[in-house]
Symmetry: C2
Subunit: 445 residues, 2 copies
Amino acid sequence: MKKVLVLGAGRSAYCLIHYLIEHAATYNWTVLVGDADLPALHRRFPDHARLEKFRFDVAELHHIEGTVAKADLVISMLPARFHPLVAKPCLRQGKHLLTASYISDDMKAMHEEAKKMGLIFLNEMGLDPGIDHLSALKIINELKEKGATITLFKSYTGGLIAPESDNNPWNYKFTWNPRNVVLAGQGTAQYIGDGAYKYIPYHQLFSRTEQINIEGYGAFEGYPNRDSLKYREVYGLNNIPTMLRGTLRRKGFCKSWNHFVQLGMTDDTYAMEGSESMTYKEFVNSFLPEGGSGSVEERLATFIGDRAGGEEMQKIAWLGLFSDEAIGLHNASPAQVLQQVLERKWVLEPHDKDMTVMQHVFEYTLGGQRYELTSSMVIIGEDGNSTAMAKGVGYPLAIAAKMILTGRFAQAGVLYPMMPALYEPVLAELEQMGVRFTETVKQLA
Amino acid sequence: MKKVLVLGAGRSAYCLIHYLIEHAATYNWTVLVGDADLPALHRRFPDHARLEKFRFDVAELHHIEGTVAKADLVISMLPARFHPLVAKPCLRQGKHLLTASYISDDMKAMHEEAKKMGLIFLNEMGLDPGIDHLSALKIINELKEKGATITLFKSYTGGLIAPESDNNPWNYKFTWNPRNVVLAGQGTAQYIGDGAYKYIPYHQLFSRTEQINIEGYGAFEGYPNRDSLKYREVYGLNNIPTMLRGTLRRKGFCKSWNHFVQLGMTDDTYAMEGSESMTYKEFVNSFLPEGGSGSVEERLATFIGDRAGGEEMQKIAWLGLFSDEAIGLHNASPAQVLQQVLERKWVLEPHDKDMTVMQHVFEYTLGGQRYELTSSMVIIGEDGNSTAMAKGVGYPLAIAAKMILTGRFAQAGVLYPMMPALYEPVLAELEQMGVRFTETVKQLA
């Protein structure tokens, strides 16, 4: 009997763990799940003959040898910075490892050793990164086989709120880690456009968006991710003139979010003196130029170029940012204060459904004719457990785990999920589970 | 006979060393000067009975014990990050230490030990920080003695080009470290304005300037330095409603510099792929949104909101940023590329004179009446050695060294130059040397 060890059982691990339990009898494996919050683990996953639940905290990562020793395959759902601490015992004890995170330099450095030991360290195997890679590579390889020359590839993904639960002026709720949402885009976005390197500093990012439409779901806007450059090589598109990976929000979100960026409210690099007793209104005021007359609301309206009571001002007011309530956070950074405000208002209610949206756009030339191919996928969550995010992140991992444990995938090393032997069966099974892409092709002038 | 050790003999150390040599016989001391470039040291300072020149590189800082042992007082003109490596042997061997740099946490941590040993570790004793502290404290203490309540204090300093050598469209040349000029202002400016904390993110900094006029020298503009908050306590102005320390440029500079900030050209956090063979024009293009028609010049004009051939565009074109020449720097950051361009054009010619400008503005209430006090100082350089910068940085250090070696100043510990026992005689001697402040007071409504 095989054993699968899952470390971390947060929101995005639900469908993964559920799938593993559901298929445990069929494939004769046991699922070991460790999480810091054991009561929550018990609440979310009823006892099952094939399930072992245990308390596990990242502080214990240095004593994880014994736990890893029991498993045949480890899936780390911990924050990405902890993966190397999981990977080391996997290397020492000869265990396969799956993650849904970007390959770090530390992880990459283990490639030769993993390969030599015949171990599969498969990463970027969730939704984004994950399903985006699988689905893009399928199209890229099909186009190449036909003899097409790909001239443009843009791929956008967003974790959003489903239309039926979309009832706030921001058209946004937290469906995953709020801190990551507040800090999203910091750094410099790097991609290739019209054959030239393109660099977008953070303070320009949310004003340089592209509109994306998805049939039946309306308008979105996308902004580039931090590093699209390295995927040219990974995707085998070294000389492509335009390539960009990005993030989707509902139309109008970026313009409003950009006010916070422009003001400096997303800065996480310093602690604000006296933040505990400061009010939210004073917080806003601290980013406005001094002098001038009028209320904080009026001066903010001037700063952002809206009128008092305008749409942008309404969105900001709705968040409670003009409240005279004390912030109550000691030595908080602006980003921490903003996150606290947003977490009250962008909360996912128990009956709410989330939505993940992905769209690839390709332009290519075939037989002298130019074409545009669009491939889109939307997942709508079922409930607070089987969220779109949990499905999108968990199913690819679960299916890959199954393939490895049953010997259907055996390529060793630190891997991206780019090979047909992986993406063909995973995409086929995802489609059976309702995760499917809709493709349209049109001729370009 | 006493010995003064000066580490680092770059541009801003010239007047310091010159003063020490000039006064060596009178006060019976010898000057030991170490610099990485021994030939340059010989060229700049002719042999003198009271001068010992030696080759010294920061890489040898760990073997500096023997050199420090010979001295009674050490003046570190090295980059600020090296000061703690100089301070440690000074502590071990009981030597006084002077620097013109901001007190770092590492330096501050030595306060108790220095004090216990009776050692003077006097910092921020150059121009800015330095003369600004001395002159501000003199006014602050005078106002307090009169019974005035200070409600506003703004202090601006700039290292600029003298009017007679100001012959380029930017009204700027490099009179000190070019890298620091390119990176100036990065981070978040923090100050107190109208009784409220104020935070300005870097990308807003150069559009939130204040105009400053200095009688006889015309118009300047100032932007806030990174941390003005901590000086409230240091200056004894804990409850002041407005306090700001800032940097001066010639009027119009900040608007133009801001284009580079907005584009992302001052970013030093990543290396640009292919920067070696990239042309300057391609460099500019990499920060412009893709798509759109027209030349790089035309698209830049649109981005910055100027017209082709407009004043802003002329200033940028004058720098050579539309050249088809290859950059020739391997894996360079945007800031490194920009610095290379600027170093060719903002070069201080041998006949050029520099200028340092300082202005303090105070608002205060006395006897029910509100007043504004303005105190301004301008130094014009004499030649390529006795620059305004070298005088401004070097004289305060030299005078303080003299006071310590002759026993006229003896307060131990890690110190800011805020005490009357120091600022009174230093300001008096500076005035004799032509470094003088002009004060005007006017009643406010």
